[in-house]
């Protein structure tokens, strides 16, 4: 069974989804999907060990060798991503049953879990496949289930947000499809490894430039990079809290993985960063993204909006890390992927707990919450601190690596801008802290109890992970630098 791990990673949640449809009762379905997600997590851990010891694993589906059949290539980069996605999904699922009791009507619970498992399958599929078109198919699976999941939100604006996300997402996916088509037309193959070998010969043709441009724009649409981020705030704010917690930590990460995979493996570093002004473009967009999104986050009344905009800013950090295109820069990017996933899922789960108790996440209803829900608010504060990048939290580790990468490149001004950007984070986190601890609760607001246990366990699991990986960075650092080196073709 060990040799079949790569495909089992995707098949387990995939087969779990239709089985859930047959199980009908929502309590049973919850346990079953939690079980499936846990198995996916164990598989990803085994895969990571296997990859770290014995290098790249290649698994030909259907027995047909690489360019003819579809091939799953697991190297350090996507093993790392698989670990992040399955871990976050398992932890978030723990709180799912209690959270959706208050947010989704009873008869739709089973459907919710099925869609959740399908989006998990989609993401795992995107990350583990080595075939360009297969990426598009699984991208559609995860996006379709994402649209449906977001539309399950209570507020009617969730429908409108989901519709906008559908339109933008489909345009993005079709752009990727056009890009893959043009690449296929020039090289004749769909396998990424094969593409990377055959593209350099045709690299200077105009079609390959267009293909590259379309793929990058398509992926950036999914990534919510600065100019193309309009769909993200509403989608994350009005979706059910569990959905936001899951997608905030994983959806953008998968898109970033795609960006890295296409720029580094498929098109090759020299092509993507020298022939096209991608480096300058990413740097510019990343920085503007940080400042615009952070300042927008400061003026939001809905706390979910605040952290949705902060997600866009964090994506800006990642893109700046990517634009350095050095090994340390890439390590910083991968580290921030891992760390940001931890931070955001913890914060959005805590917000889920607040929604469970209060029913809404307006900043005004946060007054005096520090006393009423001490553990949840403490989790949000620690998550906020880790967003700012205070030492002893994961945020600091990735900020430090980003700084050293930028200094190594000699980009002193960019380093200063990055630090100023994280100061903006101080402002919008402290707005929430002040509301929670210093303001008296509104006269008419009914006092609320602490969040239920099912919320507190995953939240505090993630918070301890937030702190633990801030202190003992061996795991995340080793894997991230090994992946970065393997992407640069340097044998670690």
């Amino acid at each position: 069974m060990i040799s079949h791990l790569p495909i089992l990673q995707v098949i387990v949640p995939l087969m779990a989804a239709p089985i859930c449809l047959l199980l009908k009762r929502s309590q049973l379905v919850w346990l079953f999907s939690l079980f499936a997600s846990a198995i996916a997590f164990i598989i990803s851990v085994l895969l990571l060990q296997q990859v770290m010891t014995s290098g790249v694993i290649s698994y030909e589906l259907g027995g047909w060798e690489a360019p003819w059949g579809i091939e799953y290539r697991i190297d350090k980069l996507n093993a790392f991503l698989l670990l992040i996605i399955s871990a976050i999904s398992t932890v978030v699922l723990i709180a799912a049953q209690t959270s959706i009791e208050k947010e989704i009507p009873k008869e739709k619970h089973t459907l919710f879990y099925i869609l959740y498992l399908l989006s998990l399958t989609g993401m795992l599929g995107i990350v583990s496949t080595g075939d360009a078109f297969n990426v598009f198919v699984f991208l559609e699976i995860s996006s379709l289930s994402a649209y449906a999941l977001i539309a399950l939100g209570q507020d009617r604006r969730a429908l409108w947000a989901s519709y906008q996300y559908l339109i933008m997402g489909t345009i993005g996916a079709t752009f990727i499809l056009i890009g893959i088509g043009l690449m296929y037309q020039m090289t004749g193959t769909l396998n990424m490894q094969d593409l990377s070998q055959r593209l350099p010969e045709v690299a200077q043709t105009r079609t390959v430039f267009t293909a590259f441009a379309f793929v990058i724009v398509g992926v950036c649409l999914k990534l919510a990079l600065f100019p193309l981020h309009l769909w993200l705030p509403n989608a994350y704010a009005y979706a059910p809290s569990i959905v936001t917690a899951f997608f905030a930590a994983t959806a953008t990460k998968v898109a970033i993985y795609l960006l890295i995979r296409f720029t580094f493996t498929v098109f090759g570093l020299s092509f993507s960063f020298t022939t096209l002004p991608l480096q300058g473009l990413f740097l510019l967009l990343g920085l503007t993204g940080i400042f615009v999104a952070s300042s927008a986050a400061i003026y939001q009344n809905n706390v979910k909006h605040v952290f949705a905009y902060s997600s866009i800013a964090q994506v800006g950090y990642i893109i700046v890390g990517l634009s350095t295109s050095t090994i340390t820069g890439l390590t910083a990017t991968l580290l921030h992927l891992f760390n940001h996933a931890l931070m955001k899922s913890a914060i959005f789960l805590a917000l889920g707990a607040v929604v469970y108790r209060l029913g809404n996440v307006q900043l005004s209803s946060f007054n005096g919450l520090g006393r009423q829900m001490p553990l949840t608010m403490a989790a949000i504060v620690i998550g906020g601190l880790s967003l700012i990048g205070v030492p002893l939290t994961v945020g600091f580790v990735s900020k430090w690596y980003l700084l050293t990468a930028l200094l190594e490149k000699g980009w002193w001004p960019v380093a200063i801008l990055i630090l100023l950007g994280s100061l903006l984070a101080v402002i919008y986190v402290w707005r929430i802290v002040e509301a929670a601890y210093f303001k008296k609760p509104l006269a008419d607001s009914v006092p609320v109890k602490e969040a239920p246990l099912f919320f507190l366990i995953p939240i505090w699991l993630l918070i301890t992970a937030n702190i633990y990986f801030g202190i003992d960075t061996r795991l995340s650092l080793q894997v991230a630098s090994a992946a970065a080196q393997s992407l640069f073709g340097v044998s670690p």
């Binding site: 078109f133 598009f136 198919v137 559609e140 379709l144 649209y147 449906a148 539309a151 009617r156 604006r157 429908l159 409108w160 989901s162 519709y163 559908l166 339109i167 489909t170 345009i171 079709t174 499809l177 056009i178 088509g181 296929y184 037309q185 769909l190 009344n301 809905n302 307006q362 900043l363 005004s364 209803s365 007054n367 303001k439 509104l442 006269a443």
Partner: protein, 130 residues
């Protein structure tokens, strides 16, 4: 040159019409129609790529040597189904939006959203003052 690339230009024109409809028109159903056109044009791009002069459909039969490339056909089979899936989901959303907002025009929905946005803000500011 013109004849050789004529197909691709038609595809580009269709694509741009689809994109224009999606961005310019406010009606939600028209946006989905635009999306469908946009996707169909991509299918035509793939199929015109696969075609071989004088080749016949990729079904092995004696006497026929030249076949058009089967791989894009497979890709497009998947893409068509994906397109329909997105359209079905989009239409379901349109129905729900009609029920929730009472209209399927982007301006009305935006207007209603802004109104609810202001109301929540007013409540919030009252909350602060009290």
């Amino acid at each position: 040159m013109i004849i050789g690339l004529f197909n691709d230009w038609v595809v580009v024109v269709l694509m741009m019409i689809g994109l224009y409809i999606v961005i310019a028109h406010g009606n939600l159903i028209k946006k989905i129609v635009g999306l469908a056109i946009f996707q169909t044009s991509v299918f035509i791009l793939y199929i015109s790529m696969a075609n071989v002069e004088g080749g016949s459909a990729p079904i092995l039969a004696e006497g026929i040597k030249q076949f058009s490339n089967p791989l894009p056909h497979v890709l497009i089979l998947t893409a068509i189904v994906v397109g329909v899936a997105t359209t079905a989901l989009g239409l379901a959303l349109v129905v729900r939006i009609k029920e929730a907002y009472g209209s399927i025009e982007e301006e009305d929905i935006q207007h209603l959203d802004n109104k609810t946005q202001d109301e929540t803000e007013i409540q919030a500011t009252e909350g602060d003052q009290s």
